[in-house]
Symmetry: D2
Subunit: 356 residues, 4 copies
């Protein structure tokens, strides 16, 4: 029941702070014999890497991953895979104010209340920097589920949503927002830049679809596939909501509208005529695409002063200097994808355990 | 990593099917010395009990709980508490059609795909009847957290929401909908009854607020309080979305709008001027009320025919006879409350373990 | 991390006290589609059942098991299997003295120290009566590993050991001691009866061999097959030692004496020329028989007075009335077998999870 | 349920192979605010370090530990503590033969059977080198239990046991065998050296006593303190047996001989007149010293040829070159101590979780 581990059979643990010497992940339970090298992990880290456009933090981290164990002659051995990423561009001097006062929206006060003190440098353990470890672990998870394709993208920033009619997966890589709608991407350029220049920040919605998931993954009742995805996504920094399929929209529907009717399909499996359920029924995958939506709040670190209190209990105003993403949801895309991969890999193995 | 267990130190497991002889829960890790008898559990089961109004299923279940272990001379002993509820009013003959064809929106096909066959009587293990076990376990959890008050209610049915300005907690017990807005409750009478008479069903949103939670509960990063709540809520039948605090609405805000500013408060703790975060920052409680919103899809069992396929792969239409809730979200309220209690009790003990 | 659960994928939990209304087990993670009825479980309970000879406690318990969930139309469904055994022959009045003073060798003082009080009736949760739940769960586990044959027996009582040269598996069922050596069984008649008549008790050694275990089960490094067996066996009441293969005898050997040499065998697997290792190397089964030895201390409940203290801290002498086994190790045989089956079933599934 | 993790609240995971770039441990759940630096860990690693006398392997490893996370300004933060030890003196060329044939007594064949192939360099993950990670984690665990003193020593080598009458704890550090009996240590010089020169090896018995453990630690029934210790010890390389208290000797006793009588003691706690039970009753500590005995088999790597088979199934003889301990049990002492500390730290926190 490690606090810093996730998963059941395919299980990963992460360690490290924003301004420590390194961060890392340990992946346990990985099947043996899978081809794995740093080159399989690095592209996903590069996708999440900071400093690649003006719309992300200017911290410059190469995020070079090293595999320290669990691989022999290019293949996983079935033993723990230790992944390490050195921190390079720490600037702890930015955090003098943070040591003394609590940044609203951040975990500063909560950590102090829980642990009695905190590593304030860059948010310490609560920094989104930790998500690099998830992305690295997620790259390993993808090797376990070659039958699955995972596609994440941003569907709204600051309340400005994509038009589903303009959805084009090929566009996602063509803009700095992981946006599948070219017109929305064009609007967001100004939207995000304005927020950045104003020292403000914006929330976002990330969607993620996994196709190729066979029917039968998920272990009811308390390891339901949707419950695991909810936990996985809600554990990401800044996430405040998770939906499976239609999510809250389903709460406004009638039963006949929300049904996913079936007709005879290929190979004995039903062909579904709709997917309100997001590919999961009773906590088990149905063979349809698994669809998740994730709400990211706006970055809490802003240059606009906010009322706060100091550790000594004095009133103060705080502005959060340092280098921050104006919209943390953007770089959330590879993290959401990684968590999807990690949950699915685990449940593929779990299903195999129980159902052969 | 039991599939049918939830929690870490204060941990419960459930067993039983809709039409088996009984259902039950085992609570493990409960602190010793707490006064506990059936009378502490029964009121919560009565709140969830079917057959109490025309707006819920007409299945008549007394839902009498028996405590079979873990209590001696009226106090918990620290050993497992076994709670059993006998099933009384099964009518398995209603389920002949269900044996042969898959009900859209139900777990029928997914269970067949996973396990090769299924107990089709009343949905078997996937029936919402299981939630009675959660409610029983939740009643024990409440004893562990006497400092916390949990208040659940329905905030919308079929897209018709309460008016927050009319919120009155005292109203919740005055109508069959757990509705805190008398006017909305009056509207829902007709709304739900119309759906029922039409053989249709409605979705709902349930909200739950826990006050009195001290700052410091929650174990980052993968046992964050919000991640655990998300998992807990998403594991409930028919739930498709979970929000903490402002949830998806936060994704449309700017950083300065979403901040929860602080001023000096009593006893050294900050006084928060807002609670967009829903009482949780960095996965740790802040001392503010913990707020969760949960989306229930409309009941999948409806009398309106839906296209489906048989187990043999033939096209068919199905209507789901039997006795069903026209809006399963209503009776979801005591279940959501129970899951809130179970998560909080567990995290109170976890916090005590690590932080003394 | 339930305290009262064991196993990882195939996982069981037990509940219940010696003098409560019932005891039981919940088995989670069982593969679906296995034929299971009470008739598959009862014979193992009958083997452990008290009151069958003068060499066991005279408590009369029919130990009739009921399956309350997880089985449909005679087959396991993949959902939790709830097994319940009602307690029938409680005589709590025997335990007046126990309420007031601590029985040496029992858990009385430790439970009081831990929990602040205890259910003193028959030892409450710490009673060996709980092992009936293990035996019931173990009967389910056996269905998961039809390729494995498990043979348990008593190899020594009160220091009087069987002669390996006289080992005859067919003898085990011919005497009340599960003794494979007819001559030893004859000696033990008098040995155990003398102890019983003297109000004393005797320790015993139980051995258990599992044949048919394929190479590859066990998950190093902290779920090694031998580590799991050690935990499983040491969790049994009265057990104080566990050996795998030669155990402590290996500590007196030289490397070349302790080696298990190999020669080419059938079907590509090596043929081992010895089995000092007890069928486990590096925490993984080798394909050889898995051999475990378990030390049971003498029953702590004796009629010979022992110095003790009361709950109030006064010096006292105590004799333990009630109905007790003069040698608790004898009825330990079906329990050791059950734990062997439970560990192996779990690791079969675990191996399948990771290694396909 | 990580395979490579141990513990429940205070939980550690290890990674790394004998001949990889590094090995390491991650400690999760450690209480915050404990003073910790590399200097707290290094002395325990030095105690286990190879190459310090002719009685241990000549591999030269400085075993310098680095703390990569979880400590801020000299104190634990409550977040994961990552400990890394670089491998320096690998000589993989020694292992050419091992790649082709199975070393009897080693995990070679079992790993191949399980995973399909193996990292044969120095035994890979199955090497005793991993125990350095345990020792590092154990040093952290000791900080959690300052009330406890842990004393480990070798009590027998190759069947030659110490004389309890000559036990002198002060002697343990005076010889290369962790031997508390100066006369035995003198005998072992020749015994071990003879074995070494003959290319053979010897088994050993390690004993470990923890004093200062208060009554009440341990969580029955499946997280009993003795069951956890059994699992912890049996997971150590080369261990084949575990005893608590009198262990197998208790199986030869009568009830009145094995009783630990009590008389009124100080501060309300009983004074025990004996400790056959090894400080644990019903799986819970009694306040007496916790005593464990552990059997180490002789090192399997010997220079005496043993019959084996190749990976291709051909008969062969193998001698294991490389640098090996003539008696692996000797360096087992700090490992056994570490596992004792890790189990006790975990159970201190668990007890606090449930019982306040």
């Amino acid at each position: 029941m490690s606090f810093n581990s996730f998963g059941r059979v395919f299980r990963f643990s992460t360690w490290g702070e924003s301004h420590g010497p390194a961060i890392g992940a340990m992946v346990d339970g990985c099947p043996p014999g899978l081809a794995l090298s740093e080159a399989d992990v690095q592209p996903f880290l590069d996708k999440r890497r900071p400093g690649t456009s003006k719309f992300t933090t200017q911290r410059q981290e190469p995020d070079q991953v090293r595999i320290l164990s669990g691989v022999f002659e290019g293949k996983t051995t079935g033993t723990p895979i230790s992944l390490m990423i050195e921190n390079v561009d720490q600037r702890s001097k930015d955090y003098g104010d943070v040591a003394k006062a609590y940044r609203p929206g951040h975990a500063d006060y909560a950590y102090d209340a829980k642990y009695g003190f905190r590593d304030y440098r860059g948010g310490g353990r609560s920094s989104a920097r930790e998500t690099a470890s998830r992305v690295a672990a997620g790259a390993v998870a993808r090797l376990v589920i070659p039958e699955v394709t995972i596609l994440g993208y941003v569907s709204a920033i600051g309340g400005d949503a994509i038009d589903p009619a303009h959805f084009d997966a090929a566009e996602i890589g063509n803009n700095p927002f992981f946006c599948p709608d070219a017109k929305a991407a064009a609007r967001w350029e100004k939207l995000v830049d304005d927020a950045r220049l104003a020292g403000s920040s914006l929330g976002a919605v990330v969607e993620c679809v996994a196709t190729g998931v066979p029917a039968g993954w998920g272990a009811p009742l308390y390891a339901k596939l949707d419950a695991e995805l909810a936990s996985a996504m809600m554990s990401i920094n800044a996430v405040k909501g998770v939906e499976i399929g239609d999510g809250f929209a389903a709460a406004a529907l009638r039963g006949e509208e929300n049904a996913d009717p079936m007709r005879p399909g290929d190979a004995g499996a039903p062909a579904f005529l709709a997917n309100h359920a997001g590919g999961i029924a009773g906590g088990i995958s149905t063979g349809q695409p698994v669809r998740v939506r994730v709400a990211f709040k706006p970055t809490s670190s802003i240059l606009i002063p906010v009322e706060t209190v100091t550790r000594e209990g004095q009133a103060s105003d705080i502005i959060t200097k340092g280098r921050h993403d104006p919209c943390v949801g953007i770089r959330g895309v590879p993290v959401v994808e990684a968590m999807m991969a990690l949950v699915l890999a685990d449940h593929k193995l779990l299903h195999r355990a129980q159902c052969g």
